[in-house]
């Protein structure tokens, strides 16, 4: 991810959900709300994400994208669907699923 002010070095497969495309399937590694485009304080954003089911280990899939600048996105989190803006989805660090054909 070029230009990410807070790069995630741990694992090359880790990306921010806000950067992922439609069709992305992965698993939540952790939440990192420190640097996002969101207006919420990092703590508030993290709480809200947890309340909507974004917890470590949950399976995520980007189902739909909005018309303008592919924003907001509709994300399947385990068995519920949440709509959110990409700026808030930046706080969710996900690992791309290994696709088993």
């Amino acid at each position: 991810m070029t230009g990410d002010p807070n790069p995630i070095q741990d694992n090359p497969r880790d990306i921010r959900l806000g950067h992922a495309d439609r069709g992305f399937v992965g698993k939540i590694i952790r939440l990192d709300a420190l640097v996002t485009g969101s207006s919420l304080s990092p703590q508030e954003l993290e709480q809200r994400l947890v309340e909507m089911g974004f917890v470590e280990g949950a399976r995520v899939e980007i189902l739909h994208e909005g018309t303008i600048r592919r924003d907001p996105i509709a994300v399947r989190v385990d068995n519920i669907t949440i709509a959110l803006r990409r700026s808030e989805a930046m706080a969710v660090i996900v690992e791309m699923a290994v696709i088993v054909e």
Binding site: R48, H64, T67, N79, I80, T81, S87
Partner: protein, 624 residues
């Protein structure tokens, strides 16, 4: 058991069918009001259990946790914790969960348990869960949670029988509330609770191997970047057609009914009682009538809104429109209220309750009156047909239609501009509210529940028409009727009234925008409802007669006004806060006079400035 009725509170996450459950428990025995000091809807109702216990139910605002991040959620928290002034702590908390989607609710259940109130978990929509292949080991789950569990199908007849029976059983035993251990959860608490909830689900619930494919299939079209918007446009088109065409016969019937009633009263009363006659006919009946005429439109709008909401489409519409509206600083959820305002700003402003964030809601309320409501149509039609020739321009466009379209476009553009400005100046220090909402699975709307919802809204509207709006109408009648014309006076009686005095006093102020004193006088009863100005113009220009007179008024106006004046009045009507009912509703919905005054002043300033520009520009161009 004491004679006093028992208090039940319904708590649950959004989209759990809490409101349907409330509707099927209480039927039409419900009351909608506001909590004191805030604009949060307080829904209460009552029912009697099979064993004859009388129970009052409070439908608390939906929430994912007790943190209280919005005024609605604070209410839920404070009532459950028993620290809301004037609201007794509930005897039994019913936590409502969507049986097809337990993850988020179970976490809320765990949080609620810490509060220590006697509590029962209601697994609603159990029929849908079973059909989808979700099996829930109720005994196991009840054991794990340490709570009684009851299943329900709120939308089916008899679907709450078990709940009623279990409520009786529960209330027959005495329950001691334990001390609250609740503290505002930290992120770690939330995560731990979610893990615990997930663990309980893993032990007690078997999920189907395949998710709900119907919702997935519908969404692949409905949320498509292109087709999604096309479908939204089609839905809106149908909705508009319905609001204008279906409502028309009923509106005419009401309008004729009220004038007939007014005439009847007029005829019954002796001639010497002319003041009483006038008060009843012109003040009371036509005043209230002019508002109640909009009831059919309000019913149709809310029918559509509630149908789409129940089906699960509203959240999708917000998803599709969020970015588009965001450009003007509006939240995706503001879309439907603004749309409703094309029929009438009153239901539009009432519908802003779906917006959680207070500032987003206020912005929407502020701009809703700028949407071209149907009451402007008679005024627009009158002036356009009198002054704009029905010629064809660019080969196929009717000039009159083009002007009408221009007036609508001007309303929308100015609303979006005002919103952007409000966002910039008023809420600059407040960042925009995030957009984060659940897209629930689609469900077939249940007509029973919808009917109750529409009925409640209609009742609310009528109640308002009968109180705040009525008093405004009486005031306006008073201004237009007193003092009375001296005996043998010439010209219409309104010329001697306070309205005329105000009109004359205002004339110097209105001259720069091209209005004569007759227009100023007509604008005063026009405050009651915009279209009343048409009749008032007829009165000041001494034209007798009912609807047929409209053509005649047009002819008279075409002779008496310049085109510049006519255009200026059209532009005035785009912006002017010419509707006492709307202002009254803003006052009620925002819980005080402040925002009503703000709306009035900003719209007045806009109207004056725009009319001033139009009039002077038109004169400079030599349009006489």
């Amino acid at each position: 058991m004491t004679a006093a009725s028992l208090r039940l509170a319904l708590v649950g996450a959004p989209n759990t069918g809490k409101t349907s459950l409330f509707n099927s428990l209480t039927g039409s025995r419900q009351k909608v009001a506001n909590y004191p000091g805030v604009t949060v809807e307080r829904k209460s109702g009552g029912f009697v259990t099979p064993e004859g216990r009388s129970v009052t139910v409070l439908d608390l605002p939906g929430t994912y946790s007790l943190r209280g991040r919005s005024p609605d959620e604070e209410i839920t928290r404070d009532i459950v914790l028993g620290r809301f002034d004037g609201e007794a702590v509930p005897d039994l908390v019913l936590c409502v969960a969507d049986a097809t989607n337990l993850r988020l609710t179970l976490r809320l259940v765990l949080e609620l348990k810490r509060v220590g109130r006697p509590m029962m978990l209601v697994l609603n929509m159990i029929d849908i869960a079973r059909r989808r292949g979700v099996t829930i080991d109720l005994e196991r789950m009840s054991q794990e949670l340490g709570l009684p569990i009851v299943t329900s199908v709120a939308v089916r007849k008899g679907g709450v029988d078990e709940l009623l029976k279990r409520t009786d059983e529960f209330l027959a035993r005495s329950h001691e509330a334990s001390a609250s251990e609740w503290t505002t959860p930290t992120i770690a608490d939330l995560k731990a609770a979610q893990r615990e909830a997930d663990r309980i689900i893993a032990t007690a619930v078997t999920l189907p191997t395949k998710p709900d494919t119907l919702t997935t299939r519908i969404d692949s079209v409905v949320l498509h970047p292109v087709w999604g918007l096309v479908i939204l446009a089609v839905i809106l088109f149908v909705m508009f057609q319905a609001v204008f065409t279906w409502a028309q016969p009923a509106m005419e019937l009401l309008s004729d009914g009220f004038s007939a009633l007014g005439q009847l009263i007029h005829d019954i009363l002796p001639e010497s009682w002319s003041l009483v006659q006038s008060f009843l006919q012109n003040g009371l009946i036509s005043g209230v009538g002019s508002v109640i005429v909009f009831l059919p439109q309000i019913i149709i709008i809310f029918l559509f809104i509630l149908l789409l909401e129940d089906f699960g489409y509203m959240a999708r519409a917000a998803f599709l429109m969020d970015r588009i509206m965001g450009g003007a600083g509006l939240h995706g959820r503001a879309f439907i209220p603004l749309l409703s305002s094309f029929a009438c700003a009153i239901p539009g402003i009432m519908a802003t309750r779906v917006i959680d964030n207070k500032r987003d809601r206020l912005t929407t309320i502020l701009i809703a009156p700028l949407m071209t409501c149907s009451a402007r149509i008679p005024v627009y039609t009158l002036i356009i047909s009198a002054f704009v020739p029905a010629t064809t321009v660019w080969g196929f466009v009717n000039l009159q239609g083009l002007v009408m379209f221009g007036l609508y476009a001007a309303g929308i553009t100015s609303a979006l501009t005002v919103s952007a400005i409000a966002k910039f100046f008023l809420w600059r220090d407040h960042a925009p509210a995030p957009f984060m909402l659940e897209l629930p699975d689609y469900k077939i709307p249940r007509l029973n529940s919808i009917a109750i919802g529409v009925f409640t809204r209609a009742k609310m509207f009528l109640y308002r028409a009968g109180t705040t709006i009525l008093s405004m109408m009486v005031l306006i009648w008073f201004l237009a009727s007193f003092p009375q014309a001296p005996a043998g006076a010439e010209g219409p009686a309104i010329n001697y009234s306070f309205a005329a005095m105000i009109g004359h006093a205002l004339e110097p102020l209105l001259r720069p925008i091209g209005f004569n004193w007759q227009i100023a006088v007509a604008l005063i009863p026009g405050m009651a409802a915009r279209e009343v100005a048409v009749a008032a113009l007829g009165t000041v220009y001494s034209i007798e007669g009912g609807k047929e007179a409209a053509d005649q008024i047009g002819q008279v106006l075409a002779q008496k006004w310049t085109l510049a004046t006519a255009l200026s009045l059209l532009v005035w009507y785009i912006f002017a806060p010419q509707c006492a009912s709307t202002l009254a509703v803003i006052r009620r919905e925002t819980g005080g006079a402040k925002w009503m005054v703000v709306t009035f002043i900003y719209m007045l300033v806009l109207a004056y400035a725009a009319s001033f520009l139009t009039f002077n520009l038109a004169q400079a161009l030599g349009l006489h």
